[in-house]
């Protein structure tokens, strides 16, 4: 069977579901960050699949993916700075404990 848009979209959706589960079930902030990266990538895959199979002559999907990667980099930098400061203040990275902005 020819691999088409459906296959890529299905894979993308499965990855999205896995990423979402990861965000919901993990306790550590860092694990949640890893899961968020999975979410980003499932979106990237979907964008590129749409671009390839629906409008191959344009590059809108590619441009979107580049933006997403850029924003993921910025997000990672800020999130890691926050993780550092949280760890410094709370000595733990478990989400349940982080209920106040200040302790």
């Amino acid at each position: 069977m020819e691999i088409g848009l459906y296959h890529y979209l299905t894979l993308s959706v499965i990855l999205f579901a896995i990423g979402m589960t990861g965000v919901l079930i993990r306790r550590s902030v860092l694990s949640m960050l890893l899961s968020i990266e999975i979410l980003f990538n499932s979106i990237n895959l979907a964008a590129l699949a749409f671009n390839r199979f629906l409008y191959p002559a344009t590059v809108t999907g590619h441009v979107f993916v580049i933006f997403i990667i850029t924003i993921a980099a910025a997000e990672a930098a800020v999130a890691l700075a926050i993780v550092m400061i949280v760890y410094k203040n709370f000595r733990s990275l478990e989400v349940e404990g982080l209920t106040s902005l200040k302790r």
């Binding site: 691999i3 079930i25 860092l30 899961s35 700075a81």
Partner: protein, 194 residues
């Protein structure tokens, strides 16, 4: 044929790796599996004729973002603390929810008749097209993203560099002393000397 084989291989690897990311107890290995998953996706991007994006994925995602996360892991968590409970109380509910969402989106995806009748060949100079698109149609988002990156850079530096703020921990650590004075030096050893 080869295309289908490659697709199934890398799709299976990607799914397995992402499952390992969310289920593995050792967070360092989680990050390693994330790099593996990103690599599989890069391979899939090549199958989708997006070589440039695949290369950028390896260069930035694996080479920079994952490494950054690994750094954060090394600097904060106890990696080998595998006996600790890793999952919260939603660990049974969340997969059901995710499966529901999966079913929902999959139904939508399958129901829609995408107009993919003919697959026309991709343009050869995709790199030039991306460049042109970034600096013509998408010039505004491009600028916004640049500014966002700059702001994120400054913000991250600002947040991470607040060393004069007193650590708020007062719990007693193993030596019997208060954690107060000892917390600072680990992360900011290099800044102290300036």
């Amino acid at each position: 044929m080869a295309h289908a084989l490659m697709f199934y291989l890398f799709a299976a690897l990607a799914i397995a790796a992402s499952l390992a990311v969310i289920l593995h107890r050792n967070i360092f290995k989680s990050a390693t599996f994330l790099a593996g998953m990103l690599f599989c996706l890069a391979a899939l991007f090549v199958l989708l004729d997006a070589e440039f994006i695949a290369v950028v994925q390896v260069l930035i995602y694996i080479g920079a973002i994952t490494i950054l996360i690994v750094f954060a892991i090394m600097l904060t968590t106890k990696i080998n603390d595998e006996h600790k409970e890793q999952f919260n109380s939603q660990k049974f509910l969340a997969p059901i929810l995710a499966l529901g969402l999966l079913g929902l989106i999959l139904t939508i995806v399958v129901k829609i008749q995408w107009t993919t009748a003919e697959i026309s060949p991709v343009p050869s100079d995709i790199l030039g097209l991306i460049g042109t698109a970034l600096l013509s149609d998408f010039i505004f988002p491009f600028d916004v993203v640049s500014i966002l990156l700059l702001v994120a850079l400054i913000g991250a530096t600002y947040i991470a560099k607040q060393e004069d703020r007193k650590p708020l921990v007062t719990e007693v650590d193993e030596t019997g002393e208060h954690g107060d004075g000892k917390v600072k030096h680990a992360l900011h050893a290099e800044e102290v000397e300036h």
